[in-house]
Amino acid sequence: MTQAAATDQATSTAAARIVVLAGGLSHERDVSLQSGRRVGEALRRRGLDVQVLDVGVGLLDTLRNDPPDCVLPLLHGETGENGALREVLGLVGVPYVGSDPQACRLAFDKPVAKSLIARAGVRTPPWLALPAETFRELGAAAIMAAVLTRLGLPLVVKPARGGSALGCSVVRTEEELPAAMVACFAYDAVALVERMVAGTEVAVTVLADPEPRALPPVEIRPDSGVYDYAARYTAGATEFVVPAELSPTAAAACAEVAVTAHSTLGLRHLSRSDLLVDTDDHVWFLEVNVAPGMTETSLVPLALDAAGLDVGAVHAGLADDAILSADESLSQ
C-alpha cells in the first residue's frame, strides 16, 4: 500500500469483499463489537462489501465455503491478539490484516514485549512477572515484601495478557497490594507488577505503509486521574489532546520508541504503543497493541484523524496490502 492509497481519494479495488471479525469470547467482547461496527461502517462508506462476523464454531466453515478477499481481525483480548486466531486464518489460507501469529505472541505477553523492547535500548519501567501459582507455592507475604523492596511504591498491577485496563490497579500503599493482586488474577494467571512512572500519558499509533511511521501522538487526560475502563469507554470522561503537548524532543522520542517497538516485535500494518513521558522528557514504553481499539472513544481513530487519514481508507489500504502479500508468498 502506498500512502496515497490511505487517503480519501483512493478506493480499494483488490479487497472488494472483506470480513471483519469482532466479538469473540474474551473479556473485551463488547469493545471489539464496537470496533467492528465502526470499521465495518467506514469500509461500507467506501463502497466495499463488508460482513461483520462474530467468532464461533461455524466461522472456519463460513470462511472456507465462501472465502472473502480479506479478513480484518478486530478481536481484542486473548484469542484475537495472542496469535491463535491468525494462526488458524493462515491455515485456512485467507489473507488477513495485521501482524502474524509469532509477532502477536510477543506483543500480547506484556512481560515478553517489555523484555524485547528494553533489549532494543528503550526505557521501560522496572517490572516483575509473577504467576498466581508462585504466590501459592512460596507464600504471598514474603513475595510481596520482596516486590516492594525491589520496586518501591507506587506500583501498577495488571494482567500480563489482556487489555482495556481490565484487572489493572494502581497501588499507592503497601496495604493495597494484596487486593490488587487478587483483582488481577481474576483476569489472568500471571501478573505484571510495574513501578509507576509519573508523567504525561501518550498513545502513539504506527502505520506501516509499507515503512512504519508514527502518527501524531495522542495525549490522555482522564478526569478521574486514572485511564481505567470507565475513562476509556465513557464519552466525555477523558480529554484527549492531539498532537500531545510535548516538547519537540519528547515528541520525536515518542515516535522513535513506537516505531522501534513495532519493528522490534516484527509487527505489521498497524500498532499502538502506550507510553509515558516523564518530567525530564524521558519516554517510557508501557505496552503495545496489535489489535488496538477502534471504538468511538478509541485512540487510533484520533491519531488517524490528526494525520488527515480516514479509518475506512486506511483499513481498505491495509486489506489490499494483505492480499498482495498473500499473493506474493504464494507465487514464491
Partner: protein, 450 residues
C-alpha cells in the same frame, strides 16, 4: 487557538500547528447532574460475553417462553389483524384498553384481589408502572424504603429520580417487620419524607424468599402506623410451586397499596404489557403521567394479550410454566448441594426465578466475575441489588431460562470458580485488609437458608 467547536467530535478546533482538545462528546457540559453516574462499566462489558451460547448464563431473568403455543398464538394474532387491525394499530386510551383492564382484574382475582377495571392503568411492562409511580411521588432527595437486597431495575428507577434508598433487612420469611418499623421511625426522626415502601413480597427478586402471611399483616399495620404507601411489585405471584397462589397484600388493603402486575413472566416479555392497580386519586395522576410519557400504552401489544387471554387456556399455560420452573429449581438446588462446599449458603425459593447465594467470608462476587466468565458461566453479583455498594458476598442465580442440563453444567463450573477464588483468597488472606468481606447489619441474617 480558536474557540470554534469541531462539529464531529465536539473538540475545540485548533489553529494551524496547535493541538486540538476533544472529549469526543459535544454535549459533555450540558447533561443533567443525574446523568453523571451513567458510565461504562467492566461489569456490563463482562455481561456482553454472557450472551454467547458457550457461556451458561445463570444471570438473566428471561422467562422460558419455548412452551408457549406459538403456532396457535400466531393464528390468533393473524385473525386479530384481519378483523380488528385498524383499531389494534391505532392510538388508544392512555389508561389502556377497557377490555384488557377487565381481563386483568380476572387475573388478579387469582391472588384474592377484588378490583374494578377503572382503577387499572396499563403500562409498558410493570417497569414503566414503577417509573410512573416514582415520577408522581418522588422529588429529588425523597426517601424510598425497600428490602435488602432489592430488585435491580427498581433501584435504577429510584436512582433516575434521585431518590434516596433506605434498605431494610430480610430473613428467610421476607422483610423483617421490626426492621421496617425501625427504618420508618428513623426517617421520621430525621424528618426525611418516606414516599413509599417498595417490596417484592412473593418469590422475591433476587432473594427468592416469600413474605409470610403473618408478616404481611404486620407490614401493612406498620405502613398504616407511619402513614406510608406500600408499592407491591408482584410479577411472579402466579408462579408458585406449592398449592394455591399466595394472597397478594393488595387483597387485604386497597387504599394504602399500589399494586404492580405484569404479563412478562406469565405470557410474553417482548410485548411489554404490565399494569398498575392504584387507589382512585393515584390512578388519575398515573393516567396523566402515562399520557405525557407514551400517549398510550402500545395498542397492538394490548390487543395480543387480550386475545391470548380470551382464546387460550392461559391458566393451563401458567400451570405448565410452574412445572417447568419447579423442575429447574429442583435441578439447581440439587446441583448446588452436590457441587458447592459447606460455607456457601443459598435460599430455597417456593416460586419465581431466583436463588440467592452467600459466598464464604472474604469472597467478592463482583471481583470473581471475570474468572467466572473465563470459565464460561455468568451470574449477577450481589452489589447490583443494593443502592449502597453492599452485597459483595452475594450473587443471584437464575434457573428460569437454561435447560436442566445447562443448569447442572453451570453450577459445576461455578463451583470450580468459587474453589479457585477461595484458594487465591487463602493465599493472600492474611495480607488482605481486615474489613474485606465484612457485612452490614442488614446483610445479616439475610435471606440465606442453609
Amino acid at each position: 487557538m480558536t474557540a470554534d467547536k469541531d462539529p464531529v467530535t465536539g473538540g475545540v478546533m485548533p489553529a494551524r500547528g496547535v493541538s486540538r482538545r476533544t472529549r469526543l462528546d459535544s454535549w459533555v457540559d450540558r447533561y443533567a447532574t443525574r446523568t453523571h453516574g451513567m458510565t461504562a462499566s467492566e461489569i456490563r462489558a463482562l455481561f456482553a460475553v454472557a450472551s454467547r451460547p458457550e457461556v451458561v448464563s445463570l444471570a438473566g431473568g428471561m422467562p422460558s417462553i419455548d412452551g408457549l403455543p406459538l403456532a396457535s398464538v400466531a393464528d390468533s394474532v393473524s385473525r386479530l389483524l384481519a378483523t380488528r387491525g385498524a383499531s389494534a394499530l391505532q392510538y388508544g386510551s392512555g389508561q389502556g384498553d377497557p377490555v384488557l383492564r377487565e381481563q386483568i382484574c380476572t387475573v388478579m382475582a387469582l391472588e384474592g384481589i377484588q378490583a374494578h377495571p377503572d382503577d387499572v392503568v396499563v403500562t409498558v411492562g410493570s417497569q414503566q408502572g414503577l417509573d410512573l409511580v416514582t415520577r408522581i411521588f418522588c422529588d429529588p432527595g425523597d426517601t424510598v424504603v425497600c428490602e435488602a437486597p432489592s430488585y435491580v431495575g427498581a433501584l435504577g428507577v429510584f436512582r433516575a429520580y434521585e431518590s434516596a434508598v433506605v434498605h431494610v433487612e430480610m430473613d428467610d420469611a421476607g422483610l423483617v417487620p421490626e426492621a421496617l418499623r425501625h427504618a420508618l421511625a428513623s426517617a421520621a426522626a430525621r424528618r426525611a419524607p418516606v414516599k413509599f415502601v417498595y417490596s417484592v413480597p412473593t418469590y422475591h427478586n433476587p432473594a427468592g424468599v416469600t413474605l409470610t402471611a403473618q408478616r404481611r399483616t404486620e407490614v401493612l399495620d406498620i405502613c398504616a402506623e407511619f402513614d406510608v404507601l406500600l408499592v407491591e411489585d408482584n410479577p411472579y405471584g402466579l408462579l408458585g410451586f406449592t398449592g394455591e397462589p399466595m394472597r397478594a397484600m393488595r387483597a387485604d388493603e386497597s387504599e394504602r397499596v399500589v399494586y404492580l402486575g405484569s404479563f412478562s413472566k406469565t405470557f410474553a416479555p417482548g410485548l411489554r404489557v404490565g399494569w398498575v392497580l392504584a387507589p382512585h386519586a393515584v390512578r388519575e395522576k398515573l393516567v396523566l403521567a402515562q399520557e405525557s410519557a407514551t400517549l398510550c400504552p402500545p395498542t397492538m401489544s394490548q390487543a395480543v394479550v387480550s386475545t391470548y387471554l380470551a382464546e387460550h387456556d392461559w391458566c393451563g399455560q401458567i400451570k405448565a410454566f410452574r412445572e417447568l420452573y419447579r423442575e429447574r429449581r429442583d435441578t439447581m438446588l440439587a446441583a448446588l448441594t452436590e457441587h458447592l462446599p459447606a460455607p456457601v449458603r443459598w435460599t430455597r425459593p417456593d416460586g419465581g426465578f431466583y436463588v440467592w447465594v452467600q459466598l464464604p467470608e472474604g469472597l467478592d462476587a463482583q471481583a470473581m466475575l471475570p474468572r467466572a466468565v473465563t470459565a464460561r458461566v455468568a451470574y449477577v453479583p450481589g452489589t447490583a441489588f443494593y443502592a449502597d455498594g453492599l452485597g459483595s458476598r452475594h450473587l443471584r442465580l437464575s434457573y428460569c431460562y437454561p435447560t436442566p442440563e445447562r443448569i447442572r453444567e453451570g453450577v459445576r463450573r461455578l463451583a470450580g470458580v468459587i474453589a479457585a477464588e477461595v484458594e487465591l483468597r487463602e493465599t493472600f488472606g492474611a495480607s488482605l485488609p481486615p474489613g474485606a468481606g465484612a457485612q452490614h447489619t442488614y446483610e445479616r441474617p439475610g435471606p440465606d437458608q442453609s
